[in-house]
Protein backbone atom coordinates (compact mmCIF):
# COMPACT_ATOMS: atom_id res chain seq x y z
CA UNK A 1 0.00 0.00 0.00
CA UNK A 2 3.00 2.31 0.40
CA UNK A 3 4.54 3.81 3.49
CA UNK A 4 2.64 5.95 5.99
CA UNK A 5 4.51 8.97 4.71
CA UNK A 6 3.46 8.31 1.08
CA UNK A 7 -0.18 7.97 2.13
CA UNK A 8 0.00 11.21 4.12
CA UNK A 9 1.50 13.05 1.14
CA UNK A 10 -1.15 11.66 -1.21
CA UNK A 11 -3.88 12.79 1.18
CA UNK A 12 -2.36 16.30 1.33
CA UNK A 13 -2.19 16.50 -2.47
CA UNK A 14 -5.84 15.45 -2.79
CA UNK A 15 -6.89 18.04 -0.21
CA UNK A 16 -4.85 20.64 -2.10
CA UNK A 17 -6.55 19.81 -5.40
CA UNK A 18 -9.91 19.93 -3.65
CA UNK A 19 -9.13 23.35 -2.18
CA UNK A 20 -8.05 24.60 -5.60
CA UNK A 21 -11.20 23.30 -7.30
CA UNK A 22 -13.39 24.77 -4.56
CA UNK A 23 -11.78 28.19 -5.01
CA UNK A 24 -12.04 28.05 -8.80
CA UNK A 25 -15.62 26.76 -8.91
CA UNK A 26 -16.81 28.98 -6.08
CA UNK A 27 -20.03 26.95 -5.70
CA UNK A 28 -21.92 25.90 -2.58
CA UNK A 29 -21.96 22.36 -4.04
CA UNK A 30 -18.21 22.11 -3.37
CA UNK A 31 -17.32 23.54 0.05
CA UNK A 32 -13.68 24.11 0.98
CA UNK A 33 -12.05 21.05 2.53
CA UNK A 34 -11.10 22.67 5.85
CA UNK A 35 -14.80 23.26 6.57
CA UNK A 36 -15.48 19.57 6.00
CA UNK A 37 -12.47 18.42 8.02
CA UNK A 38 -13.60 20.65 10.88
CA UNK A 39 -17.14 19.24 10.64
CA UNK A 40 -15.85 15.64 10.69
CA UNK A 41 -13.64 16.43 13.68
CA UNK A 42 -16.52 18.01 15.61
CA UNK A 43 -18.95 15.15 14.84
CA UNK A 44 -16.39 12.53 15.73
CA UNK A 45 -15.64 14.31 19.00
CA UNK A 46 -19.28 14.66 20.05
CA UNK A 47 -19.97 11.10 18.91
CA UNK A 48 -22.80 11.92 16.49
CA UNK A 49 -20.87 10.51 13.51
CA UNK A 50 -19.64 7.39 15.27
CA UNK A 51 -23.01 5.62 15.24
CA UNK A 52 -23.48 6.05 11.52
CA UNK A 53 -19.90 5.07 10.82
CA UNK A 54 -20.26 1.92 12.93
CA UNK A 55 -23.56 0.93 11.34
CA UNK A 56 -22.23 1.41 7.81
CA UNK A 57 -19.05 -0.47 8.69
CA UNK A 58 -21.07 -3.37 10.11
CA UNK A 59 -23.34 -3.56 7.06
CA UNK A 60 -20.41 -3.59 4.62
CA UNK A 61 -18.35 -6.00 6.71
CA UNK A 62 -21.19 -8.49 7.19
CA UNK A 63 -22.00 -8.29 3.50
CA UNK A 64 -18.40 -9.06 2.57
CA UNK A 65 -18.11 -11.89 5.10
CA UNK A 66 -21.36 -13.44 3.94
CA UNK A 67 -20.16 -13.33 0.33
CA UNK A 68 -16.74 -14.66 1.29
CA UNK A 69 -18.04 -17.72 3.16
CA UNK A 70 -20.21 -18.65 0.19
CA UNK A 71 -17.94 -17.68 -2.72
CA UNK A 72 -14.59 -19.08 -1.60
CA UNK A 73 -15.60 -22.75 -1.08
CA UNK A 74 -17.77 -22.70 -4.19
CA UNK A 75 -15.11 -20.97 -6.28
CA UNK A 76 -12.39 -23.39 -5.16
CA UNK A 77 -14.54 -26.42 -5.92
CA UNK A 78 -15.73 -25.13 -9.30
CA UNK A 79 -12.18 -24.20 -10.25
CA UNK A 80 -10.57 -27.43 -9.11
CA UNK A 81 -13.17 -30.01 -10.16
CA UNK A 82 -13.44 -30.18 -13.91
CA UNK A 83 -16.93 -31.70 -13.97
CA UNK A 84 -18.27 -28.96 -11.69
CA UNK A 85 -16.53 -26.32 -13.76
CA UNK A 86 -18.22 -27.53 -16.93
CA UNK A 87 -21.65 -27.51 -15.31
CA UNK A 88 -21.47 -24.38 -13.17
CA UNK A 89 -19.40 -21.98 -15.27
CA UNK A 90 -22.19 -21.28 -17.80
CA UNK A 91 -24.41 -20.15 -14.93
CA UNK A 92 -21.69 -17.86 -13.66
CA UNK A 93 -21.18 -16.34 -17.10
CA UNK A 94 -24.92 -15.71 -17.47
CA UNK A 95 -25.47 -14.32 -13.98
CA UNK A 96 -22.27 -12.34 -13.39
CA UNK A 97 -22.84 -9.47 -15.88
CA UNK A 98 -26.34 -8.63 -14.56
CA UNK A 99 -26.37 -5.38 -12.54
CA UNK A 100 -27.42 -7.10 -9.35
CA UNK A 101 -28.68 -3.93 -7.69
CA UNK A 102 -31.77 -4.16 -9.91
CA UNK A 103 -32.80 -7.16 -7.82
CA UNK A 104 -33.43 -4.81 -4.90
CA UNK A 105 -37.26 -4.87 -5.22
CA UNK A 106 -37.24 -8.65 -5.15
CA UNK A 107 -34.87 -8.74 -2.19
CA UNK A 108 -37.12 -6.34 -0.28
CA UNK A 109 -40.14 -8.52 -0.95
CA UNK A 110 -38.22 -11.58 0.25
CA UNK A 111 -36.39 -10.15 3.24
CA UNK A 112 -38.21 -6.93 4.11
CA UNK A 113 -36.72 -3.45 4.29
CA UNK A 114 -34.52 -4.07 7.32
CA UNK A 115 -30.78 -4.47 7.67
CA UNK A 116 -30.68 -7.97 6.26
CA UNK A 117 -31.82 -6.84 2.80
CA UNK A 118 -29.07 -4.23 2.75
CA UNK A 119 -26.42 -6.70 3.81
CA UNK A 120 -27.76 -9.27 1.37
CA UNK A 121 -27.51 -6.93 -1.60
CA UNK A 122 -23.90 -6.03 -0.75
CA UNK A 123 -23.14 -9.74 -0.37
CA UNK A 124 -24.79 -10.59 -3.67
CA UNK A 125 -22.73 -8.14 -5.71
CA UNK A 126 -19.46 -8.93 -3.98
CA UNK A 127 -20.16 -12.68 -4.14
CA UNK A 128 -19.75 -12.81 -7.91
CA UNK A 129 -16.52 -10.82 -7.85
CA UNK A 130 -14.95 -13.18 -5.32
CA UNK A 131 -16.43 -16.28 -6.97
CA UNK A 132 -15.01 -15.59 -10.42
CA UNK A 133 -11.54 -14.70 -9.13
CA UNK A 134 -11.39 -17.68 -6.78
CA UNK A 135 -12.50 -20.07 -9.49
CA UNK A 136 -9.84 -18.81 -11.89
CA UNK A 137 -7.18 -19.00 -9.18
CA UNK A 138 -8.05 -22.63 -8.39
CA UNK A 139 -8.21 -23.51 -12.08
CA UNK A 140 -4.77 -22.15 -12.91
CA UNK A 141 -2.75 -24.05 -10.30
CA UNK A 142 0.24 -25.77 -11.88
CA UNK A 143 -0.59 -29.44 -12.15
CA UNK A 144 2.85 -30.46 -10.94
CA UNK A 145 1.70 -29.50 -7.44
CA UNK A 146 -1.05 -32.10 -7.71
CA UNK A 147 1.40 -34.73 -8.93
CA UNK A 148 3.68 -33.91 -6.02
CA UNK A 149 0.77 -34.34 -3.59
CA UNK A 150 -0.18 -37.61 -5.26
CA UNK A 151 3.32 -39.02 -4.77
CA UNK A 152 2.91 -38.24 -1.06
CA UNK A 153 -0.37 -40.15 -0.99
CA UNK A 154 -2.76 -37.23 -0.51
CA UNK A 155 -6.55 -37.57 -0.51
CA UNK A 156 -8.74 -35.15 -2.45
CA UNK A 157 -9.60 -33.27 0.73
CA UNK A 158 -5.90 -32.94 1.59
CA UNK A 159 -5.33 -31.47 -1.88
CA UNK A 160 -7.75 -28.69 -0.93
CA UNK A 161 -6.13 -28.04 2.43
CA UNK A 162 -2.50 -28.14 1.33
CA UNK A 163 -2.55 -26.95 -2.30
CA UNK A 164 -5.79 -25.55 -3.73
CA UNK A 165 -6.60 -23.26 -0.81
CA UNK A 166 -3.13 -21.83 -0.09
CA UNK A 167 -2.27 -21.44 -3.78
CA UNK A 168 -5.45 -19.40 -4.32
CA UNK A 169 -5.14 -17.08 -1.33
CA UNK A 170 -3.12 -14.30 -3.01
CA UNK A 171 -5.74 -13.92 -5.74
CA UNK A 172 -8.57 -14.12 -3.21
CA UNK A 173 -6.95 -11.22 -1.36
CA UNK A 174 -6.92 -9.21 -4.59
CA UNK A 175 -10.61 -9.99 -5.05
CA UNK A 176 -11.25 -8.82 -1.48
CA UNK A 177 -9.59 -5.50 -2.25
CA UNK A 178 -11.85 -4.97 -5.23
CA UNK A 179 -14.83 -6.00 -3.08
CA UNK A 180 -14.11 -3.29 -0.53
CA UNK A 181 -14.52 -0.60 -3.17
CA UNK A 182 -17.67 -2.22 -4.49
CA UNK A 183 -19.21 -2.73 -1.08
CA UNK A 184 -18.83 0.94 -0.14
CA UNK A 185 -20.47 1.97 -3.41
CA UNK A 186 -23.39 -0.42 -2.83
CA UNK A 187 -23.54 0.79 0.76
CA UNK A 188 -24.44 4.27 -0.45
CA UNK A 189 -27.18 2.80 -2.63
CA UNK A 190 -28.78 0.64 0.07
CA UNK A 191 -28.60 3.35 2.72
CA UNK A 192 -30.45 5.80 0.55
CA UNK A 193 -33.79 4.18 1.33
CA UNK A 194 -35.75 2.94 4.32
CA UNK A 195 -33.19 3.85 6.96
CA UNK A 196 -32.24 6.83 9.08
CA UNK A 197 -28.82 5.49 9.99
CA UNK A 198 -25.56 5.13 8.15
CA UNK A 199 -23.25 7.25 6.04
CA UNK A 200 -25.39 6.80 2.93
CA UNK A 201 -28.34 8.23 4.81
CA UNK A 202 -26.25 11.21 5.95
CA UNK A 203 -25.32 11.95 2.35
CA UNK A 204 -28.87 11.68 1.03
CA UNK A 205 -30.32 13.62 3.96
CA UNK A 206 -27.79 16.47 3.71
CA UNK A 207 -28.33 16.62 0.01
CA UNK A 208 -32.05 17.03 0.56
CA UNK A 209 -31.39 19.84 3.05
CA UNK A 210 -28.74 21.36 0.76
CA UNK A 211 -26.29 21.09 3.67
CA UNK A 212 -23.22 20.56 1.55
CA UNK A 213 -20.70 20.49 4.36
CA UNK A 214 -22.54 17.56 5.95
CA UNK A 215 -22.81 15.95 2.54
CA UNK A 216 -19.05 15.96 2.18
CA UNK A 217 -18.65 14.81 5.75
CA UNK A 218 -20.58 11.70 4.70
CA UNK A 219 -18.44 11.23 1.61
CA UNK A 220 -15.22 11.74 3.57
CA UNK A 221 -16.36 9.22 6.17
CA UNK A 222 -17.03 6.67 3.45
CA UNK A 223 -13.51 7.18 2.17
CA UNK A 224 -12.15 6.68 5.69
CA UNK A 225 -14.24 3.54 6.05
CA UNK A 226 -12.90 2.03 2.83
CA UNK A 227 -9.38 3.04 3.78
CA UNK A 228 -9.66 1.27 7.16
CA UNK A 229 -10.82 -1.88 5.39
CA UNK A 230 -7.74 -1.72 3.15
CA UNK A 231 -5.50 -1.38 6.20
CA UNK A 232 -7.09 -4.45 7.77
CA UNK A 233 -6.78 -6.42 4.53
CA UNK A 234 -3.09 -5.52 4.32
CA UNK A 235 -2.58 -6.89 7.82
CA UNK A 236 -4.36 -10.14 6.99
CA UNK A 237 -2.47 -10.55 3.74
CA UNK A 238 0.88 -10.07 5.46
CA UNK A 239 -0.03 -12.89 7.83
CA UNK A 240 -1.44 -15.29 5.25
CA UNK A 241 0.97 -14.69 2.38
CA UNK A 242 4.35 -14.54 4.06
CA UNK A 243 5.70 -16.81 1.34
CA UNK A 244 5.01 -14.50 -1.61
CA UNK A 245 7.93 -12.30 -2.65
CA UNK A 246 6.84 -8.78 -1.75
Amino acid sequence: MGSKRDIFIAALILLGLWELSALLLDSIALPEPWLVVKDIGRKLADGSLLDDLAISAARALLGILLALTAAVPLGLAVGAEESLRRRISPFIYLLYPIPHVVLLPLIIILFGIGNFSKIFLIALVVFFQILVTTRDAAKDINRNYFYAMQTLGASRWQMYVHVIMPASIPKIMTAMRISVGTSVAILFFVESFATTRGLGYIIMDSWGRSDYVSLYTGIGSMAMLGFSFYLILDRIEKRLCRWTPS
Binding site: N142, T151, S155, P166
Partner: protein, 247 residues
Protein backbone atom coordinates in the same frame (compact mmCIF):
# COMPACT_ATOMS: atom_id res chain seq x y z
CA UNK B 1 12.32 -55.94 -7.98
CA UNK B 2 10.84 -53.60 -10.59
CA UNK B 3 9.77 -55.32 -13.78
CA UNK B 4 8.77 -53.30 -16.84
CA UNK B 5 7.28 -55.38 -19.66
CA UNK B 6 6.60 -54.09 -23.20
CA UNK B 7 5.21 -50.79 -22.03
CA UNK B 8 3.68 -48.39 -24.56
CA UNK B 9 2.37 -44.92 -23.87
CA UNK B 10 0.65 -42.33 -26.06
CA UNK B 11 -0.35 -38.74 -25.37
CA UNK B 12 -3.28 -37.10 -27.14
CA UNK B 13 -2.10 -34.14 -29.11
CA UNK B 14 -5.02 -32.20 -30.66
CA UNK B 15 -7.12 -35.39 -30.63
CA UNK B 16 -4.38 -37.42 -32.36
CA UNK B 17 -2.67 -40.00 -30.18
CA UNK B 18 1.10 -39.62 -30.54
CA UNK B 19 3.35 -42.34 -29.18
CA UNK B 20 5.71 -41.22 -26.42
CA UNK B 21 7.19 -44.52 -25.25
CA UNK B 22 7.42 -47.68 -27.36
CA UNK B 23 8.05 -51.21 -26.24
CA UNK B 24 9.97 -50.44 -23.06
CA UNK B 25 11.18 -53.48 -21.12
CA UNK B 26 13.77 -53.66 -18.36
CA UNK B 27 14.26 -54.79 -14.80
CA UNK B 28 15.74 -53.22 -11.71
CA UNK B 29 16.92 -55.61 -9.01
CA UNK B 30 16.08 -54.95 -5.35
CA UNK B 31 18.39 -52.39 -3.73
CA UNK B 32 19.72 -51.64 -7.19
CA UNK B 33 20.12 -48.27 -8.76
CA UNK B 34 19.03 -47.37 -12.24
CA UNK B 35 19.72 -44.29 -14.34
CA UNK B 36 17.48 -43.31 -17.25
CA UNK B 37 19.13 -41.09 -19.84
CA UNK B 38 18.07 -39.78 -23.23
CA UNK B 39 17.57 -36.65 -25.31
CA UNK B 40 15.19 -33.92 -24.15
CA UNK B 41 11.54 -34.75 -24.77
CA UNK B 42 12.18 -38.46 -25.31
CA UNK B 43 9.82 -39.47 -22.51
CA UNK B 44 12.05 -39.81 -19.43
CA UNK B 45 9.64 -37.98 -17.17
CA UNK B 46 6.74 -39.96 -18.61
CA UNK B 47 8.59 -43.19 -17.87
CA UNK B 48 9.20 -42.10 -14.28
CA UNK B 49 5.51 -41.16 -13.94
CA UNK B 50 4.63 -44.67 -15.11
CA UNK B 51 7.02 -46.24 -12.62
CA UNK B 52 5.70 -44.17 -9.71
CA UNK B 53 2.08 -44.83 -10.67
CA UNK B 54 1.14 -41.25 -11.63
CA UNK B 55 0.36 -42.49 -15.16
CA UNK B 56 -0.94 -45.81 -16.49
CA UNK B 57 0.55 -47.41 -19.63
CA UNK B 58 -1.63 -47.91 -22.71
CA UNK B 59 -0.31 -51.45 -23.00
CA UNK B 60 2.26 -53.61 -21.27
CA UNK B 61 2.69 -53.74 -17.51
CA UNK B 62 4.83 -52.58 -14.67
CA UNK B 63 5.16 -54.97 -11.78
CA UNK B 64 6.77 -53.95 -8.54
CA UNK B 65 7.26 -56.78 -6.09
CA UNK B 66 5.42 -56.29 -2.82
CA UNK B 67 3.72 -52.96 -2.29
CA UNK B 68 6.69 -50.84 -1.36
CA UNK B 69 6.49 -47.34 0.01
CA UNK B 70 7.83 -44.97 -2.70
CA UNK B 71 9.34 -41.50 -2.54
CA UNK B 72 9.43 -39.25 -5.59
CA UNK B 73 11.32 -36.10 -6.51
CA UNK B 74 9.64 -34.42 -9.47
CA UNK B 75 11.38 -32.33 -12.09
CA UNK B 76 11.02 -28.68 -10.89
CA UNK B 77 8.05 -27.48 -8.84
CA UNK B 78 8.25 -30.35 -6.41
CA UNK B 79 8.23 -28.02 -3.41
CA UNK B 80 5.26 -25.99 -2.24
CA UNK B 81 6.20 -22.30 -2.13
CA UNK B 82 3.56 -21.59 0.55
CA UNK B 83 5.05 -24.09 2.98
CA UNK B 84 8.21 -23.62 4.97
CA UNK B 85 11.17 -25.97 4.62
CA UNK B 86 9.99 -27.75 7.77
CA UNK B 87 6.41 -28.08 6.52
CA UNK B 88 7.55 -29.26 3.10
CA UNK B 89 9.74 -32.01 4.53
CA UNK B 90 7.10 -33.12 7.03
CA UNK B 91 4.18 -33.02 4.59
CA UNK B 92 4.15 -36.72 3.70
CA UNK B 93 4.01 -37.58 7.39
CA UNK B 94 1.28 -35.01 8.07
CA UNK B 95 -0.78 -36.57 5.28
CA UNK B 96 -0.30 -39.95 6.96
CA UNK B 97 -1.57 -38.37 10.19
CA UNK B 98 1.55 -39.21 12.14
CA UNK B 99 1.98 -37.79 15.66
CA UNK B 100 3.45 -34.31 15.93
CA UNK B 101 6.36 -35.42 18.08
CA UNK B 102 7.16 -38.21 15.62
CA UNK B 103 7.16 -35.75 12.70
CA UNK B 104 9.32 -33.29 14.59
CA UNK B 105 11.91 -35.93 15.42
CA UNK B 106 12.08 -37.24 11.86
CA UNK B 107 12.18 -33.81 10.19
CA UNK B 108 14.82 -32.52 12.59
CA UNK B 109 17.01 -35.52 11.82
CA UNK B 110 16.61 -35.03 8.06
CA UNK B 111 17.36 -31.31 8.36
CA UNK B 112 20.61 -32.23 10.06
CA UNK B 113 21.50 -34.99 7.59
CA UNK B 114 20.88 -32.72 4.61
CA UNK B 115 22.76 -29.79 6.10
CA UNK B 116 19.63 -27.65 6.28
CA UNK B 117 19.77 -26.86 10.00
CA UNK B 118 18.62 -23.31 10.75
CA UNK B 119 16.57 -23.02 7.57
CA UNK B 120 13.39 -24.75 8.78
CA UNK B 121 11.37 -21.53 8.82
CA UNK B 122 12.52 -20.40 5.37
CA UNK B 123 10.29 -20.67 2.34
CA UNK B 124 11.58 -22.47 -0.80
CA UNK B 125 11.70 -19.15 -2.66
CA UNK B 126 14.32 -17.95 -0.18
CA UNK B 127 16.71 -20.86 -0.80
CA UNK B 128 19.41 -21.51 -3.40
CA UNK B 129 18.82 -24.16 -6.06
CA UNK B 130 21.07 -26.68 -4.29
CA UNK B 131 19.25 -26.21 -0.98
CA UNK B 132 15.88 -26.64 -2.68
CA UNK B 133 17.11 -29.93 -4.14
CA UNK B 134 18.14 -31.09 -0.68
CA UNK B 135 14.72 -30.13 0.73
CA UNK B 136 13.10 -32.16 -2.06
CA UNK B 137 15.37 -35.09 -1.23
CA UNK B 138 14.58 -34.79 2.47
CA UNK B 139 10.86 -34.68 1.79
CA UNK B 140 11.04 -37.79 -0.39
CA UNK B 141 13.01 -39.59 2.34
CA UNK B 142 10.76 -38.53 5.22
CA UNK B 143 8.35 -41.42 4.80
CA UNK B 144 11.30 -43.87 4.68
CA UNK B 145 10.63 -45.15 1.17
CA UNK B 146 11.95 -48.45 -0.15
CA UNK B 147 12.08 -47.04 -3.68
CA UNK B 148 13.22 -43.53 -4.52
CA UNK B 149 12.26 -42.02 -7.90
CA UNK B 150 14.18 -38.91 -8.92
CA UNK B 151 13.57 -36.79 -12.02
CA UNK B 152 16.67 -34.74 -12.80
CA UNK B 153 17.11 -33.83 -9.15
CA UNK B 154 20.43 -32.11 -9.79
CA UNK B 155 19.82 -30.19 -13.01
CA UNK B 156 20.63 -26.49 -12.97
CA UNK B 157 23.31 -26.79 -10.30
CA UNK B 158 26.94 -25.76 -10.63
CA UNK B 159 29.45 -28.57 -11.13
CA UNK B 160 30.78 -28.67 -7.55
CA UNK B 161 27.40 -28.55 -5.81
CA UNK B 162 26.24 -31.17 -8.25
CA UNK B 163 29.08 -33.55 -7.35
CA UNK B 164 28.48 -32.97 -3.64
CA UNK B 165 24.82 -33.82 -4.00
CA UNK B 166 25.64 -36.84 -6.18
CA UNK B 167 27.73 -38.11 -3.28
CA UNK B 168 24.84 -37.38 -0.93
CA UNK B 169 22.44 -39.42 -3.09
CA UNK B 170 25.01 -42.20 -3.17
CA UNK B 171 25.22 -42.15 0.65
CA UNK B 172 21.45 -42.18 0.97
CA UNK B 173 21.08 -45.04 -1.49
CA UNK B 174 23.61 -47.20 0.34
CA UNK B 175 22.86 -46.23 3.94
CA UNK B 176 19.09 -46.66 3.70
CA UNK B 177 19.09 -49.76 1.52
CA UNK B 178 16.66 -48.47 -1.05
CA UNK B 179 16.12 -48.98 -4.75
CA UNK B 180 17.01 -45.75 -6.55
CA UNK B 181 15.73 -44.73 -9.99
CA UNK B 182 17.20 -41.55 -11.42
CA UNK B 183 16.38 -39.61 -14.59
CA UNK B 184 19.23 -37.47 -15.81
CA UNK B 185 20.60 -35.52 -18.76
CA UNK B 186 24.17 -35.98 -17.66
CA UNK B 187 26.27 -38.90 -18.88
CA UNK B 188 28.70 -38.65 -15.94
CA UNK B 189 25.84 -38.63 -13.44
CA UNK B 190 24.23 -41.68 -15.03
CA UNK B 191 27.52 -43.61 -14.88
CA UNK B 192 28.34 -42.46 -11.34
CA UNK B 193 24.96 -43.35 -9.85
CA UNK B 194 23.36 -46.03 -12.04
CA UNK B 195 24.26 -49.70 -11.60
CA UNK B 196 22.04 -50.15 -14.61
CA UNK B 197 21.69 -47.46 -17.25
CA UNK B 198 18.72 -47.29 -19.62
CA UNK B 199 19.47 -45.26 -22.74
CA UNK B 200 16.39 -44.00 -24.57
CA UNK B 201 16.09 -42.87 -28.19
CA UNK B 202 14.59 -39.61 -29.40
CA UNK B 203 10.83 -39.32 -29.16
CA UNK B 204 9.06 -41.72 -29.31
CA UNK B 205 11.35 -43.21 -26.70
CA UNK B 206 12.57 -46.73 -27.37
CA UNK B 207 15.34 -48.49 -25.50
CA UNK B 208 18.59 -47.96 -27.41
CA UNK B 209 20.74 -49.83 -25.01
CA UNK B 210 20.90 -51.12 -21.45
CA UNK B 211 24.35 -50.68 -19.95
CA UNK B 212 25.26 -52.66 -16.85
CA UNK B 213 27.60 -50.64 -14.73
CA UNK B 214 28.59 -52.57 -11.59
CA UNK B 215 31.21 -49.99 -10.62
CA UNK B 216 28.57 -47.43 -9.60
CA UNK B 217 28.32 -46.94 -5.87
CA UNK B 218 32.01 -46.26 -5.14
CA UNK B 219 32.69 -42.65 -4.14
CA UNK B 220 35.99 -42.57 -6.09
CA UNK B 221 34.56 -44.28 -9.16
CA UNK B 222 34.77 -40.91 -10.94
CA UNK B 223 38.56 -41.14 -11.10
CA UNK B 224 38.75 -44.68 -12.47
CA UNK B 225 39.53 -45.59 -16.05
CA UNK B 226 36.47 -47.81 -16.24
CA UNK B 227 34.28 -44.79 -15.45
CA UNK B 228 35.60 -42.98 -18.52
CA UNK B 229 35.19 -46.12 -20.57
CA UNK B 230 31.50 -46.34 -19.57
CA UNK B 231 30.96 -42.64 -20.24
CA UNK B 232 32.44 -43.21 -23.70
CA UNK B 233 29.98 -45.99 -24.43
CA UNK B 234 27.02 -43.82 -23.44
CA UNK B 235 28.33 -40.89 -25.44
CA UNK B 236 28.72 -43.02 -28.58
CA UNK B 237 25.23 -44.46 -28.16
CA UNK B 238 23.60 -41.06 -27.71
CA UNK B 239 25.64 -39.48 -30.51
CA UNK B 240 24.69 -42.27 -32.92
CA UNK B 241 21.07 -41.49 -32.07
CA UNK B 242 21.59 -37.82 -32.81
CA UNK B 243 22.98 -38.62 -36.26
CA UNK B 244 19.87 -40.62 -36.97
CA UNK B 245 21.56 -44.05 -36.96
CA UNK B 246 20.05 -46.96 -35.13
CA UNK B 247 22.49 -48.56 -32.76
Amino acid sequence: MINVRSVNLCFDHQTVARPVLQDISFQIPPYGSCAIIGPSGCGKTSLLFLLSGLLQPDSGEIVIAGTPNCGTILQNFGLFPWKTVYQNIGLGLVLQRKKKSFIQERVTRLLREMGLGGFEEHYPGQLSGGMQQRVALARALATEPEILFMDEPLSSLDALTRERLQNLILDVWQAKRITAVLVTHSIEEAVFLGRRIIVLSKRPGRILRIVDNPGAGEPDYRQSEYFFHQCGILRETLKGEENGQQT
